[in-house]
């Protein structure tokens, strides 16, 4: 099977997967013991309002018709609107305004496993069965077992203290920000110009607006939750990285290289690391669901109004249609990332089977 027919097969298989996931969501929300309309209206509802909302949600139709409507609407990205959280706002609009903060959080939390977890794992794999290996491995395993919510609470408390945890005050470190709250993401604007000045004269102009201070502030706000969110993946990547390096170091071609008289540095950089990276890179994508699940908790703790927070609020405040639409978006993201992962595998390592 060629790469492209494998890819096509993967795409076609994704359709029933998404369909099944959305069907489950539909069943939970519309067939479950809670009636979405009375949940939206709360305890004191009048019949008129009830019927109006029911008609708007299409709940007065027969069940099968509701199901088809639900699927068609989702497929056309006609995601309905919010009823309780921000009444009469289109769900798409809400997602558009909440998603950037979650993406920002996800971006920074992926950096941690990439730039801390993998190097640490490689280091442990290159020095197996030494004390530093044990320390790194143990750290990775314990780190992985730490619940996000607890780590978040502890980190938040540590940062709120003056000069206790870090030796300096996090709140006023570099730029003065609060510790909890949403990161300001308006450091970038397509309109406007940024001048890079050196020594009083304008060196060149960037064709967009970029506020450096806001940028730093946004990073500072997002770092603590991102560290916690990335911690589980970091532990995983570390363990996997260690195993991958150990496997490569003991492989025949490394032995050949050594017999040839290649320098140690060259062996490690050219032969070991490159091959050990193969299994690691795609797995980052596989952990998207950890990030989405964890974002609910961390956004709640750190007061960031992102998608996870929105979902939690939608569920607890009985804005069930919105929760269903969000779930659909999450399912799409995860399925898409899974396909991307498989695709990356076939590019990075053509040996990995298509028939798996």
């Amino acid at each position: 099977m060629s790469r492209w027919s494998y890819f096509a097969r993967r795409l076609i298989l994704a359709i029933p997967v998404v369909l099944f996931g959305t069907t489950l969501t539909f069943m939970i929300i519309y067939l479950g013991p809670i009636d979405p309309v009375s949940a939206i209206l709360g305890p004191q509802s009048n019949t008129q309002a009830y019927e109006q909302i029911e008609a708007q949600l299409g709940l007065n139709k027969p069940l099968f018709g509701q199901y088809i409507d639900f699927l068609v609407d989702l497929a056309m990205f006609n995601l309905g609107e919010s009823w309780v959280i921000q009444p009469d706002t289109r769900a798409m609009e809400l997602i558009g305004s909440f998603a950037p903060r979650t993406l920002w959080l996800g971006f920074w939390s992926v950096l941690l496993p990439l730039f801390v977890g993998i190097p640490l794992g490689f280091y442990a794999g290159l020095n197996p069965n030494t004390w530093s290996d044990y320390l790194a491995s143990l750290g990775g395993i314990v780190w992985r077992s730490m619940p996000n919510f607890w780590l978040g609470v502890i980190l938040l408390a540590g940062l709120s203290q003056d000069n206790v945890l870090l030796g300096f005050n996090w709140k006023t470190f570099i730029v003065d920000t609060g510790i909890i709250g949403a990161p300001p993401l308006d450091f970038y604007n397509v309109e406007g110009v940024t001048r890079i000045n050196i020594g009083g004269s304008t060196l060149f102009r960037l064709p967009f607006k970029f506020k450096f201070e806001t940028f730093i502030e946004a990073i500072k706000r997002i770092l603590p939750p991102a560290v916690v969110l990335g911690s589980a993946s970091m532990g995983n990547e570390m363990r996997l990285g260690r195993t991958a390096v150990l496997e490569t170091v003991n492989s025949n071609y490394v032995e050949t290289a050594r017999a040839k008289g290649l320098s140690n540095g060259k062996i490690v950089w050219k032969h070991v690391f490159r091959n050990a990276l193969i299994p690691l890179v795609p797995i980052i994508l596989n952990e998207a669901f950890l990030l989405i699940g964890g974002s609910v908790i961390l956004e709640t703790i750190f007061g960031i109004n992102g998608l996870g927070w929105l979902f939690f609020q939608a569920v607890t405040q009985a804005d069930l249609p919105l929760a269903g639409s969000l779930m659909y978006i999450f399912i799409l993201i995860i399925v898409f990332l899974n396909i991307l992962q498989d695709f990356l595998y076939t590019i990075i390592d053509p040996r990995v089977g298509y028939d798996k």
């Binding site: 077992s145 502890i154 938040l156 996997l240 699940g293």
Partner: protein, 579 residues
Amino acid sequence: MSEKSETSTLRERILAHPEPAMIWLAGATLLFLPQASAFFETLMLWGDMVNPFTTGSLEIMSWYVDTMVGTLGPVGGYFMVAVGGLVLVSIVTVLVKAFFIPFSIVESLGLEDLPISADLLERTIVGSVITVIGVLLVFSPLGAALEGLFAVLADIATVFTDRWTLLSRDVMPNQGFQPPASATDQYPTGALGPYHGTFLGLEPAVVWAVRVLLVYLYAFLWIGWAWFGYKTFRRHYRYADWTPRDDMIDRFSTHRWGQFGFVVVAMFLTMAIFAPPLGPVTAQENIQEPYSYQVNYTENGTVKNITHGGANSGSLSQGGDRNVGVLQYDDFGRFHPIGTTTNGKDLWTFMTMGSRVSLFIGLLAIVGSGFIAASLALVTAYYKGLTDLAVVVLSDGIQAMPALLVLILLSTVLAGHPISKVYNGALVLVLIFIAIQWAGLWRALRGPALQVSEQEWIDAAKSYGQRPTTTMKKHMAPYILGYLLVYGSLNLGGIIISVAALSFLGLGIEPPVPEWGRMVNSGQPYVASFSWHIATIPGIMVVLVVTGFNAFGDGIRDAIDPQSDGASSDEAAAAGGGG
């Protein structure tokens, strides 16, 4: 040794050479006797646990009937009720047939020649018997009679429960006070210390520590004795001199990391099983009905009396001056091993009772989802093709939904449903976890199961016409069982984290019932104050227990499959949980 022959049963082998077995049995009896009454008490407790389950399931069934008849009208409603009943009966039938009926009914009745499938006939017979029994129990006085029988049995068991127990609060009470010199006649002090009411008059903290130590010593004695029993069996009664399992055990016995996991898991299990004697005070007195129980204490040279509730509100931990920390006594002479909660209850008692909740949910969910995953893995590996593809789609569909979000959604949606009342919401969590977790477990077991199904002996079994179910059970299941244990152990850690995360968010287990995550939530404002213990210690315990389960899983994996060498991505995902 020489008379061990392949055909003799274990019983015959023991009868031929009974001494080692007798020694082991005598030791086990000696160990069992001091705790016999506690054992019966636990049995009674489990008996009581069945009640909410049966009433709860009756309630759920009537809810199902009502909704179906209500939404689909009488005809469609009763049709759906019949369908639901059929599904339920077939599930129970398969389970009963698999676990309780080892022989073939069809063969013993001599019905093999009938022109329908033997399996189907077998299941129809079992299913109709179950239906008749079920209908009789629900609709005839037989159910009430059975209830009466159980009540009589319970009465008999009560006779055993009130006997002397070594590891109990009554033998070693740790609640006492130091009477003032003027009142020692009224409140005599103990033999070894100046306290009234405690074991030998010792300090409450010391008595508590001794009791906890004894409990753990007792538990580890049992583990050691069980190990000795296994060795006795291996040496004297096993037919084969060597089995592959011996090598696994040898590998595990040099695997320090796995042993660490085993010890942590054993300590966690002991904590859950022996929760009542481990706490310095009973959960009933301190957490559930604090205003119905009283405690004596000394103040300004006089002995005073206060309810536990009153004392609780005088020993809050809320930072600043109001704090009862680790290894401290409160103002009423009550000892708190790891301090008090924000509303003055004993944190350690809360944690021990909470470990029961975590273990209950985790174990049941893993057993349930493991059973589904293993059966599906066998079936898909045996038949491959379309069956495999269908289960791939199902499991991918479930895994495409972020597990924690589904948990949040489902536990909110089901909050008003009768099923959420059973065991304070634990049962519904178990069911949700089973529904979610089987997908990941099946994915992890699919590879090993496929590998086994490619082996020659499976071909051989097929070619001489062995029934597919028998081939799966006898020739495939033993090979994937070890992997099930590995992934089960890893997943259990994930479930414990997820349950704690849910109660951290204020969902899941209903409030008066202890759950570790809730303490992290309520202690959150005080992490950086003197009352740091409320959120920190439960969190550390979650980390420790989950690390233990992960290490144990690693150990078993290295023992059963020494070539595997390290982690795979499936395991990484399983252990994280996402909370």
